[in-house]
Symmetry: none
Subunit: 224 residues, 2 copies
DNA sequence: CTTGACACAGAACAGACGTTCGAGTATCAT
DNA sequence: ATGATACTCGAACGTCTGTTCTGTGTCAAG
């Protein structure tokens, strides 16, 4: 009773092994051992598993770290890894100060967190100190940011011209997101929406830059 | 010369171990062994690594599969995997029709692709048929979408009330993103920006729904 | 029928790996 | 001083794990 491989490509058993590696990895966060693969796929000998693994490696479906325990990994399928976890620190809204992480920064204090793919992150901003805020209310619409959006910020006190910053205008008792420009004797805060006009802040007025916006994410659910 | 743990929390060595596990996992797609951790962190004895690993487990930073090779995993930080690859099919701009994937849909035809964390995806939209477009021009600002933004769409011809849709208005020769509402004898296309007024389309006018927007991603680089 | 490629089993080996234990050192409060 | 606590080392043990070798049954080509 022999199992024939129908196609030139992957046989039933190859597929089952591939599936098992994927699901095992998902569940245990580490690859299975050869014997575990064999047990799941009803293969009684480790040499047979090894036999299939060799084939899967040659056909480019997996990669192996020889001699290393559990050194199997899928390559072309599930793009594994490279997530970036950003702590969600609360909400940002017009009338409230911005909650920025304290110096005894602890990512685990965050109630929740946002996962972002590394590949989406602007190159420079991959430090560990980013944090996220959820926008509440419609006060940021001139920054092209709507209620429910998630903004990812990099905490900083000083901004360069052209940076989008989250600022607290204590004179106006207002939090806002704007593009920042330093001019002769004042600051220009330019809305992201090109049809709207900038606001100007005298240098003697207080302007607290709380952070630099690096990313905005909007899940479009329903309008109502 | 002893290393004192200053705070009650994580010491320098704990952090180094955590970082090493993360970077090793990123690079090798499987966790490091105890001896590999020791080597990287200048710990000469496996028992010391074990000692720290026990502490990290108690403090809830890692999880361990006892007796199993490389059975260490970070729990708070980035969960490996769970990325969603969305093909980037081109640009969307006011004067041009929307490039939607043809039926001989092939993800590899896409010039580029966007990785999105599963956890960011609206629950219902995890089908494999999503695609992404890059916004060109400032014509979508009334949808709170700016030049350079990436919109992720689900191809569909019919929309439910409240869905944000990408439509092609052939009478006006225009592509736009709006919230969709079907009313008595006309369609109402509501801008996402609440300060802007809706446009109405008679049912006899042609209105081609090309897709439903499920997500908007904006990388904030520079204003100029 | 012989030959050889293929799929598979089982056993044995060597090295990798987690675990445990005994012992040593430094710091600090008592 | 004394003990408690925190940290470190080295070695030994047993199991986990990848590798390799021998052997068996099937099937198709020559």
């Amino acid at each position: 009773m022999m199992m024939v491989r129908k196609s030139k490509g992957l046989g039933e058993r190859h597929q089952k092994i591939l599936d098992f590696i994927a699901s095992y990895q998902r569940e245990h966060k580490h690859p299975p051992s050869i014997r575990e693969i064999g047990e799941d796929c009803d293969i009684s000998s480790t040499s047979v598993v090894n036999y299939y693994l060799d084939q899967l490696e040659k056909s480019g479906n997996i990669e192996r770290d020889r001699k290393i325990s559990r050194g199997v990994r899928l390559i072309n399928s599930a793009p594994v890894g490279d997530l970036f976890r950003v702590p969600l620190y609360g909400v940002i809204q017009a009338g409230e100060p911005i909650p920025i992480p304290s110096s005894d920064f602890n990512a685990f204090t965050a109630e929740d967190s946002i996962d972002v793919a590394m590949s989406l992150m602007p190159a420079k901003e991959k430090g560990r100190d980013l944090f996220a805020l959820k926008v509440q209310g419609e006060s940021m619409i001139d920054a092209m940011v709507n209620d429910g959006d998630i903004v990812i910020l990099k905490p900083t006190q000083d901004a360069r011209n052209g940076d989008m910053v989250a600022v607290w205008l204590s004179d106006r008792n207002e939090t806002t997101l704007k593009f920042f420009f330093k001019e002769k004797d004042k600051y220009r805060l330019q809305p992201a929406n090109p049809t709207m006009k900038p606001i100007y802040i005298d240098k003697n007025e207080s302007l607290e830059i709380k952070g630099k916006v690096v990313m905005v994410i909007r899940k479009v659910e329903r309008y109502n």
